[in-house]
Amino acid sequence: MAIVYERPKSLAEVETHYCPGCTHGIIHRLVAEVMDELDIAGITIGIAPVGCSVFAYNYFNVDMVQAAHGRAPAIATGLKRAMPDKMIFSYQGDGDLASIGTAEIVHAAHRGENITVIFVNNAIYGMTGGQMAPTSLVGQKTTTSPYGRQEAETGRPIRISEMLATLDSTALISRVSVHNPAAVIKAKRMIKQAFIAQQKGLGFSMVEVLSTCPTNWGLSPIEALKWVEENMIPYYPLKDFKVPEEVK
């Protein structure tokens, strides 16, 4: 019997703390699969943010650095400048990247740092118990927008990929999702192309991955996938904003 699918080597043999159905698990696995396929685990250093995926430093079989909330892109800059021949990726949630760490991600992109950012957008703060994030949708009920997010008071959600795509020094910007197998396959391809862009020294690459938060959305894992499709994707269109030819 030939193996069709099994655990990628770069994914540690540990059970994750993620809630049942949380798609962080899928995204971790895709990053690990890409590291296996490009055979780069030994020269890769990952950066874990603050948020649900803070414990990512336990989940990858690569050297990991745990970053202060929002500062992963700055830490990635320090790592990459100190070791230009190593592969550096930061794995960040929307609270980490689209709120407290927006200056850091914008300027890492603006400098064209040759790093890869996996930006997991689930439109909420998960670890701290379901608060509104800058990516929360208008009308979305959270523990800090109990009446639904009010556009008048908190503006409309921030579209990071579109924003960063306007920066000339970015090499690869793409938004994907993992709400069904086809989307997962596409997400993996983009994550792989992002790492390849870094390998080829093309500059800053970021893949925004729409993700679920069943627990804090108050939905079952399967309903959460549908919520992504019916509510998030219309506002956050899945699109390759910038993909250099060399990585296709």
Binding site: M1, Y5, H24, G25
Partner: protein, 68 residues
């Protein structure tokens, strides 16, 4: 009976995402519980499995191995 899909019952958190992915509809949530209290998924009919591994792609916990 060839075993194409292996479910690691102790790792499965009973989230059900794989059941939405299986084109053959042979994955359903089990009634029994694993040691953590989750209802792991079970394969109703291995022979219908086409080893497409869509289930494994949708599993957040790498609780599924697929062979051909």
């Amino acid at each position: 009976m060839i075993q194409r899909v292996t479910i690691f019952e102790e790792i499965c958190k009973g989230c059900g995402l794989c059941t939405t992915a299986c084109p053959q509809k042979i994955l359903v949530m089990g009634k029994h519980m694993n040691s953590k209290g989750y209802h792991p998924v079970i394969v109703t009919d291995q022979s219908l499995c086409i080893s497409c591994a869509m289930c494994a792609r949708m599993c957040p916990d790498v609780a599924i191995k697929v062979e051909k």
